[in-house]
Symmetry: D3
Subunit: 322 residues, 6 copies
C-alpha cells in the first residue's frame, strides 16, 4: 500500500528547486499587470433560506481579457458576525480541479461560525466562469496543457492571478478583516500560489490540503490517478515538447513558490495519496520558511484528514485570530 517514500525519508525530503532565472521577474511583472487591471466587481444579493447569512452573487474581471470570474460572497448578519478590530475575518476558498465553487451552501458552516467567506470559481472548469483567454494552439481536453508552450500564455498564469484578484475583491469590501486562504487539491495549489504571490495583501494564514500543482517532476514520476495524467497524455502526442513544457511548469510549481510565503501555513498530506503523492507535499513543506504546521494522515489518500482535519482548520483559524 505504500505509494511513495517512507515517512522518515519524506520528512527529510527537500529536493532542489527548479526555479528559472527570471522566475521572480516573471511573477513581479505578472502581479503588477494584474494590480493595474481594475476588478469591475458586481455584487448582488442572492436569495438563500437563512436568516443568519446574506449571500451575494459576485462577478469580477479575471486576469487578462474577456473572463468574468464568478464567486459567492457570504456575509454573516448581526449578531452572527465575528468582529476583530471592527472587521470580520474572511476565508477565501479555492476549489479542486474540474469542480466549481459549488452552491453557497457549501461554505455555510464557515459563514455560520461568523466569518465572511468568498468562494470563487477556477476559470474554465465546471462553474459559472469561462476561460476566455486567447490561446495559440489546442490542448488535451482539460486545463493542464492550455498555452503550455510559454509561461506567459500558460493557463495557470491566468488562473493563479484570478485567485489573487479574489483577495483583491475581498480587500475592497468594508467589512473585511484579516484574510485566510483555504482549499484542497488544486485549491491547495492555488492557496500556495496566492500566499506566495500576494504577500502584501492582508493574508494572515493559508490552509492548503493535499496540494496539486507541486513538484511536477516527482509528481509525474509517481502519481497513478488524477489530472497529472493530462500532461502524460499530452506528451504521448507531443513527445518532443516535454522539456520545454517542464520549463513552463517550473514557474507554476508550488515547490518553487513556497519559499516566498510569509504567513503561517497549515498543510496536510495523505501518505496513500496517489493523485497528489505525499513527496510532492513534503517538498513544498520543507521549502517553507514561514511559521508552519504539517498534518500527516498516514493511511489516507487524496481525501486527506477529512473531519479530523476540518477541526484542525477551525482551530488554526481561531489561533490566527486569537
Amino acid at each position: 500500500m505504500i505509494v511513495d517514500k517512507p515517512l522518515a525519508e519524506l520528512e527529510q525530503y527537500c529536493p532542489a528547486l527548479t526555479t528559472a532565472s527570471d522566475f521572480d521577474a516573471f511573477w513581479a511583472t505578472t502581479v503588477a499587470e494584474s494590480d493595474g487591471q481594475p476588478l469591475n466587481a458586481s455584487v448582488e444579493e442572492y436569495p438563500f433560506p437563512s436568516d443568519r447569512v446574506t449571500v451575494y452573487r459576485v462577478r469580477y474581471d479575471g486576469f487578462g481579457q474577456n473572463t468574468r470570474v464568478a464567486g459567492w460572497y457570504l456575509v454573516p448578519r448581526e449578531p452572527y458576525r465575528i468582529e476583530v478590530d471592527g472587521a470580520t475575518p474572511t476565508l477565501v476558498h479555492y476549489h479542486g480541479y474540474s469542480d466549481s465553487k459549488g452552491l453557497p451552501i457549501r461554505q455555510m458552516s464557515w459563514a455560520l461560525q461568523g466569518y465572511c467567506v468568498f468562494a470563487v470559481d477556477t476559470r474554465g472548469q465546471n462553474g459559472e466562469t469561462p476561460d476566455n483567454n486567447v490561446y495559440n494552439s489546442g490542448s488535451i481536453l482539460g486545463c493542464m496543457t492550455k498555452g503550455i508552450l510559454d509561461p506567459a500564455t500558460y493557463y495557470y498564469r491566468y488562473a493563479y492571478m484570478d485567485c489573487v484578484r479574489a483577495v483583491d475583491f475581498v480587500r475592497s469590501r468594508a467589512e473585511t478583516g484579516p484574510i485566510i486562504l483555504a482549499g484542497g487539491s488544486q485549491g491547495g495549489g492555488l492557496t500556495i500560489a496566492v500566499a506566495a504571490l500576494a504577500t502584501d495583501k492582508g493574508i494572515v494564514g493559508a490552509m492548503p490540503d493535499v496540494p496539486y500543482l507541486c513538484h511536477f517532476r516527482r509528481a509525474i514520476e509517481i502519481f497513478t490517478d488524477g489530472p497529472y495524467r493530462e500532461l502524460v497524455d499530452f506528451w504521448k502526442k507531443h513527445p518532443y515538447d516535454v522539456e520545454q513544457n517542464y520549463h513552463t511548469l517550473s514557474y507554476f510549481d508550488g515547490m518553487n513558490l513556497a519559499p516566498r510565503i510569509k504567513c503561517p501555513v497549515l498543510l496536510s498530506v495523505g501518505l496513500l495519496d496517489t493523485i497528489c503523492p505525499p513527496s510532492t507535499g513534503f517538498a513544498v513543506y520543507n521549502h517553507l520558511s514561514c511559521p508552519k504546521t504539517l498534518k500527516v494522515y498516514p493511511y489516507n489518500g487524496h481525501e486527506g484528514g477529512s473531519e479530523y482535519h476540518e477541526i484542525e482548520k477551525w482551530n488554526f483559524v481561531r489561533s490566527l485570530l486569537a
Copy 2:
C-alpha cells in the same frame, strides 16, 4: 446509462406489498418491548472549538442487551438557538451503511443554524457502538445477514429500534421541540423505519435520501454495486435459505413500512443510482399516504441531489416549522 425503468414507468410503479400476516403484531410487540426498556442515558460535555454550539457525548442502552449506543448531541447556545414555543426543533440523523456518526463537526451546519442535532451510530458499524446482540450463527462479513434466519433475531430489528430510541432520548431532553428525521442511503432506510414505527413520538418530518433497505426483491434484481451484495454473497453459500431470508427481510422492508408513516416526507432518488436503484425509492414513495414530496435527480447516482438537495432540506425544515 439508464439503470432502471424509464421515469414515466417509475412514476406509476407501485408493486404489491410483501407484508406478512403478523407484520403489525411483530412491530407492535417490538416497539412495546423497547418502550419498556430504560434508556440509561449518559450525557457529558465534549470539548469542541466553537462558542456557539455545545457538544455532548451521549450513550444510551440500545435495544436488547449489552449494547450502548453512542451519539453526538449538539445544542446551540444562546442567542444562537432557534426556539419554537419555547423549545428547539431537533434533527435526528442516521448515517449510511458501514459509516458512523462521524465527528461532531459533521452536523455543525445544522447546529449553527440554531437546531439541536442528535447524530447516532448504527450498531456494529464503523462508529463507537458495538453490536453485542447474541446471534445463533455466523454471517457474511457485514451486517446484512446477521440473524437473518428469523425476523426476531435479525440485525435490523435491533438497529431499527436503536434509532427509535434515539428519538426517545431526544424527547427526554427539556430543550427539545419538534423532531425531524434525516439520513441518506442506510440512513434513509432508518429514517423511513423510525417514521413508520414511532408515529406518536413528536416527529414532524422525515427526510430520507436515496434510501437503502427498500423493496428487497427488486433491489436484488437490479442493483450492481453496494451492500445488497452481502445478501447475494450469502446466498451463494446458502442457496437453500433464499426464500426464508426474503421472508425475514419483508419485516424490515421500507416499502412495507411506508404506509404507516403519518408525518410529511421529503424523499429523493437518483435515476442512475446503482446501489439503491430508483424503482425501490419510487416503490416507497408510491406507498406513502402522508404529505409527501419527491425530488428526482435524473442523472445522479447514489450521491443524489447533493448541494441542490441540501437546500431542499433547509427549505423543507423551515416550512415544517413555519
Copy 3:
C-alpha cells in the same frame, strides 16, 4: 454482448426527429454568417520525406473570432495526381473527439493514391487549433458542454462551421475537383453535419463512420463509454438544466441534420459499439433520403469495420468518380 436493439429492430428504427421550429432558420443564419466571413487562409509548404506528395501547412480563420484553424493539405505531385476533368478529387478529413488532425503521414495512403487531402483540427482539442470563442460560463472539462445554454453559443456551432469552412478552403484551390468528406466517430458526426449544411459546395460523397453527435436522447440512454459521459457529468452538477440542454443539442443532432443531405453517403456502424451505440447510427441512416449505403459490422464496437471498411471507402470513392 448485445448492447442495443436486435438488428431486425435497428433496421426499422426511425424515431421522430426533434427538430425545433427555427432549426432551418438557425442554420441558414449561421451558414450565411460564415459565408460572409473571409478565410484569410495561409498556405506554406511543409517539409516531408516524400517525392510524391507535397505537404502544406494551412491556417484559416475559424467561424467567429480569434480562432485560426490548422490543417494539413496534401497535394500529389505529377505524375502521381489523379485528374478528373482537369481537377483532382479531394478528401476532407475530420478527426475523432479529443484527437487532432495528427501528422501529415496519417493521410498519406490517400494522397499517394493520387487524391488531394485536407485534414483539419477540431478547435480546442488536441491539435494546433485553440478554441478562442468567448463563452458565458464554465463547463465540464472537454468540449461537450461549452456554451450549451444557448444554441447560438454552443461549441459545436463553431466546430461545425469550421468544418464547413474547410470545404470553403478546398474550393478556393485551383487544383481541387470533386470533394469527398470522411471521418469516424466525432469525425463521422462532423461529416454528416457538413454534408447537411454545405449542400451547394461541390461535395460529391460523404463517408461517416460510427458517427458521434447523433440522436442524443437515445445515445445518453444506452451508451456506457466515451464522451457522451461529459453531458451526464454536467447534469449531475446541473440537474435543472437537462431539458434546456437537450433543446440546444437538438440543433446539432446528426439525426435532425440527416434529411438535408443530398450527396451519396456511405455509413458504417458496429453493433457492439458502446460509445456511439448502433441505434443512433441507424436513426441517422433511416432518416437519410439521399443515395445511401450502410455497412453493418455485427461484432465490432467503436472501431467499426477497420481494414474491411477502409476498402469499402476506397471502392466508394472510386465509384463516385467513375
Copy 4:
C-alpha cells in the same frame, strides 16, 4: 510482476520481532483461562452419503462467553481408518478469512485416506458460529478491527483460543491419536498460532499455507488485495489510533508467535501473493526454530501450490507418522 523482495533477499529476510514485554505473560494468562473453561461439547451424527466415513455435527464453547463453535468431525469407519498405536491420526483444519468450515464434503479426501478430521468455523465469519464476544466499540465491517483498542479484547484473542480449543476437543475423543494442524491464508495464521500456543497438546505437525496475520507492518506496507485492507480502511477513519493498534496486533502476529513452535512445520508461500505477501511468510519461516520445510511457488499468488502442494501435504503427514 515481482510483488515483493527478490527471492535471494527473502531467503535471508529475518526482521526484528515486535514482541511486547508482556507477550509471554499475555498468552500464558489467556491459555490458562481457556484451559480452565469447560468445552461442553455436543456431538451428534450427521447424515452423509458415505459408507466409509461417519460425520458428526459438533458444537463446543468458544473462548469466553456466549459463543458456541461449530465443527464437522469426520471419523473413518472400519476398515477404512488408519491406526497408529491404536489411535487415529487427526487433522484439525482452519479455514480462510470470511469463509467457513464448509460442508463435510470439503474434508472427505482426508477422511477417506483414513484420518479423522475436525474442521471448525472461525467465529463471526460465514459459518454457523457467531461471534458473541462483547465489544466496547464499533469497527470496520469484518473482523480485523473488532476490539482492536486492547489486546485483551481483540477479536483474534478469541478466535485463536477457539482454535486451541478445537485441539482440546479432538484430544477429548478416544479414537484420536497424533494431531496435525492445517489451513491456508487465515487458516495458515491460525495454524501457526495454535502450534505456538498449544505446544503441549499432542500436535505433531503443522501445515500453514500462504499465512495471513503475519508481520503486520510489512504486510500493510506491501499488500494490494485482501483483508489487510480493513486495517487501512479503519485507519482512514481513525488516523490517531494507528500505533496503538499496531501494538495490539503485535500480540497476534504470526512472526512473533513463530519462535514458540516446537513441532515440525511445512510452510508454503507464493512469490506473487499480493494478499499475504511472500516477505511476511519468510519472516515467519526464518523465525522458526523447529524442524521446518518451506515450499516456494515462484509464479503463484495467494492460491499457493494448489495440487502440487496438496501432494506435499499428503507426503508430509505420512512422514510424520512413519
Copy 5:
C-alpha cells in the same frame, strides 16, 4: 444482478433447435470413423503417496492423426474398491476450458470412495495433450475458432471424439463396470456431447455442470465473461464469416445434441452465470427426453452449486448404482 431471463421464463425456455439436415449423418460418420481407429493405449503405474489407490499414467490415440491423449486412471485397491456385479463403477471426467486433467490428486475423493476414475485432458489446452490436428488456417489464440470454417475440420470434432474414446478406453479395462460422465463448464459440454454420441457404450449417467458450448446464438447474445469471447474477437476480424461459423457451431451445440441422450442426466445451472448464461443450460435441459434432474442455484454464477452440488453428485451416482 439478474443476468438472464427470469426463472419462470427459463423454466419454459425451449428454443428451436438449429440442427442442420445432415447433423445425424455427420455424427454417424464421425463416430464410425473413430470406432474404426485403434486406441493404442499405454498404461503405466505412476507413483502416488496412497496405499488405497493405484494411479496409472495413460496415453491413447486421439481422434485423427498425431495426437496422443493423456489421462490419469485411478483404480482403488482391495478392499477399497466398490464392485457392482464384479466390476467397478467408473467416473470419466472432463475438465473446464483452458485447464487440464490436473494432477491425480484432483480425483482422489472419488477414487477413495471406491470408484475407478479416468480423467483426461482436452487436446491443446493446458495439460499434457497437444492438438496436432492439421488445420487450414490460423485462428484466435485459443481453441474456439480452430478449423471453424468447416464442421469436418472444427477443433471440437476432434475434442469431442477424444472424449468418446476416453469411454472406449475405460470399456477396454477388465475392472470397469457402469460408466458415469462428469465435468463442469467445457467439461459439462463434453459430458453432454459424449452422452449424446456414445449412447451404446455402457454410460449409465451424466453429470454436466454449468455447461459450455450450448445454444451458441443465445450465449453470444448475453454472455459477458469467458471464452465465448474468442468467437466475438474472431468475428471482429472476420465480419463476413459469422453466419458460416454459426453453421459450423450448430453441429457441436449441446442443445442440438441433447435430444440424443438416453441415460439419466443431473444438470446444474447458476442463475447469475455470466460465462455460460442460465438460458443456455435451460435450453439443453428442456430438450432432454431422458430421465433428468435439474439443480438451479439462484444466486450462484459459473461456480454453480459447489459443495452443495458435489453432494448431489455423490447421491446421484449412488442412486444410479442402487
Copy 6:
C-alpha cells in the same frame, strides 16, 4: 507512472547475455535445415481496388512440416515503383502477437511510396496460417508455451524460421532489391531474430519497434500487461518447470540474438511500456554492435512513437537507400 528504471540507468543497462553454450550451433543447424527445405511458393494475383499496386496472394512452406505460411506481396506498377540498380527495395513486415498480416490495405502506404512489401502471418495466430507443427504436450492457450520443454520443439523456433523464409521468398523474386525488415512488438522481436539469423540474405536494415521476446527474465520481473502473462500462467500450473523453460527461452531471446546483427538498426522504446518494458529494449540496443539508432518516447507506452516514429522509419529507409 515510471514503470521501469530511470532513463539514465536504462542508457547504461547492459545485462549479461544468457546464451547457452550450444546457442550458435543450435541456430546454425536450424538455419541449415531451413535452407535445405524448399519454399514451394505459390503466387497468385489478388483483386484490389488500386491501379498503382498489384497485390499477390502468396503461400509458401513454413519451417518443418505441414504448415503453409500466408502472405500478401504488394508490387507497385510502373511508373510507381522505385528502382535501385534495377531492383525494387522491399519491406518485409512481421505483425504483433495474436494479430495477423491483416488485409493488403494495411501495407498500402509503403507500396504506394514505390516499395515492394511482403507481409506475412505468424503461424497459429489470427491470420490464414495454421501452426501444424507436431507438439508433445499441451500448453497455455496461445503460443508462448507450445513445445517449451525443448528448444528444438519450441514454437518460436518454427515461427522465427518462417520469418527467415519470408526473406527467402522475397529473394526468389526477380523484382526485389535490398531488403528492409520491420515490425512492432512481436513483429519487433521477429525483426531482431531475422536480422540476427539471416545475415547473409540481402537485408540492409531492420526497424524493430517496442520489441517483444527480449530479455525474458527482466521482462517477466517487471511487465504488468500482455502476453508475457502466458508464461506466468503456465508456471502457476507447472512450478517445477520454470528454470528449464528459461533455458529454452534463452535461445529465442532477442538480447542474445542482438550481437549477431550486422545491418543498421532503428529501434524504438516507450518508457511507459508495461507490455514490453523499456529495460528489455535497452538490453537489446546496448548489445547491438551494428550501426544503430535508438528513439526513446518518454511518455509513450507500447504504442511507441506512432506517427512520429512512422516518419522516422520513412527517413531511415530513405537513408539506407541513398
